[in-house]
Symmetry: C2
Subunit: 378 residues, 2 copies
Amino acid sequence: MSHLRDLPTPALLLNRERFEHNLARMREHLAGLGVPLRPHLKTAKSIEVAHRVMAPGEQRAMVSTVREAEFYASRGVRDLIYGVGITASKLQRIGALRHGTGADVAVILDSLEQAQAVASWSRANNDPLPALIEIDVDGHRSGVVLTDAAELIAIGRALVDGGATLRGVLTHAGTSYALNDPEELATAARSERDMALEGAALLRAAGLPCTVVSMGSTPTVTFATDLSGITEVRAGVYMFGDLVQAGIGTCCVDDIALSVLASVIGTRPDKGWIIVDAGWMALSRDRGTHSQRLDYGYGLVCNEHCLPYPDLIVLEVNQEHGIIGLRPGSRAEIPMLPIGSLVRILPNHACATGGQHDRYQVVSGDIVVAEWWRANGW
Amino acid sequence: MSHLRDLPTPALLLNRERFEHNLARMREHLAGLGVPLRPHLKTAKSIEVAHRVMAPGEQRAMVSTVREAEFYASRGVRDLIYGVGITASKLQRIGALRHGTGADVAVILDSLEQAQAVASWSRANNDPLPALIEIDVDGHRSGVVLTDAAELIAIGRALVDGGATLRGVLTHAGTSYALNDPEELATAARSERDMALEGAALLRAAGLPCTVVSMGSTPTVTFATDLSGITEVRAGVYMFGDLVQAGIGTCCVDDIALSVLASVIGTRPDKGWIIVDAGWMALSRDRGTHSQRLDYGYGLVCNEHCLPYPDLIVLEVNQEHGIIGLRPGSRAEIPMLPIGSLVRILPNHACATGGQHDRYQVVSGDIVVAEWWRANGW
């Protein structure tokens, strides 16, 4: 236990109370909807976070890299989905992980070629690999389009007939991140649910199994009001919150649990600038709020107690320098921060800012109560 | 030694021949100008790179984090400058490093407060810490403006009278990254040189020492034609090159030594998309070519032998997904890449893309000849 003033800067801080509040709020919301959560652990990449997100006895989680799957499975998480379209070259590691830990590691796919590769691997290794078929619900990225029911069924049949396990369908409403109206978000959630259910119905009508109907994104899960038929939801960034999520409306700025601690290393009164030792290496280059109603540059600047300064944002970043100033047009006054002052910068995008660091300094008030390491890389 | 097809994707590749060519070209250029190089090792963060960039007997280097200083000094580099404005809170680590390794580690500053803190630390620890005063040459970020000669001299005097070592002046022409005309770049180099020399002259005229006159940025060093009076130049990204540097004109696209190896994980012929397993986590969110004449999105896509596909770029990125397609307006044809195909993506900004990885896979042709680790973090 030390004071945050004793930390070298820049450092990634995780506010324990806000984090726990975010977890409790989602848990309560989903209890009301009667749907279990499969937390997406790609934001956190931390076993300590995983243990707090999953209630005792809960085992399901989603990951974004094979390395994360290995990290969590070797630490006791039993039911994992690797949530990036599978390729044959990754099957050996997935198989070794299943064999080595006994964990249930499933894969996702959206093409006949992938289904054939998974089936072929399953037969060759006498391990009927569980797979979920991704359904495209909004043209965002990947997935089978529902208008091509024949393709969906062909993929399912290739898995089942080929010796793999067809576990179900999965959706991700990526375009919901562009919304900020509660009504539109609720509509997006309904639409995602309906399309996930339609995919499941198509498979079942063809005599194929579909036990899992998984949907998710923090925005659609947060604004969902009826998830009948959905067997699990996925969300990740809600744990920490960020300025983009605040812009969407899934959290408030005061809920954001992640911040970057930085030191003032210079001032340029002639330009209205404060220079800190946190650049894009510590904050990331994410400009997610650029397309939102309120643009926070590369982050919102707070004092060391995490109280925001009005309109004070990170205007520009270089590798290890951040240039802080007032949002253009602001009438606020720039605080006179002497060299050596500490600031905390709330991130645009928690996944991206977290990705720049190897550990969290967990703080309660100004006290560092723990250090949690991240499983970065692939 | 393995084939790059055996690497898990995404992976950071370093083309050995291009890297060595880039080093040789800069070395030859500087030999012609008669000025020694202090390589900036923040791009590479690798001792193997350092050993190749510095000729035998050369010891000087620049770093961007205290962690890098510790990393290189403990591996034998003897003359380092920590190139981010110093604060009192970092002096203990710098001092311990100097004491522990015997390396000459200098700091930079641009204010009286910093000079007083450095002087105070020097007296308290009986270690006259060497410091360079940063001169602002283009309003880019930090530095003392030359019109405030009194401030510059006061800083120098505070160091000398207070018990620290005033080593000299240092400039960084950050705005040169926005140029692309050889004439303008040569002018920027002359201007940076002249302002560095003017800063040195002001100190010397006040009876203060100034043995080092250090200038640098890859663009100004590359286009400099006369560096009389300059005692060393600093450059870093030239080692690898990137699309931004190609846009500026310091290298060609074919010189870019860094690429991200990725696997095709899906195709969307309906949208003209190829999906790969390299998103912003592997490529970074850097959009440096956005403001240049030729915008490469999040990177230029090449085949596995590093031959670019015409107009094929990374249009959009999510955490672990890249969406590849043709540059808007292109008449090229999108290549039919089956799932599992390997591509190599040339980065906008080598420093940023490198920063997303913990190691380099050094390749010669298609063969992985070495694995070099990076010293990330702070």
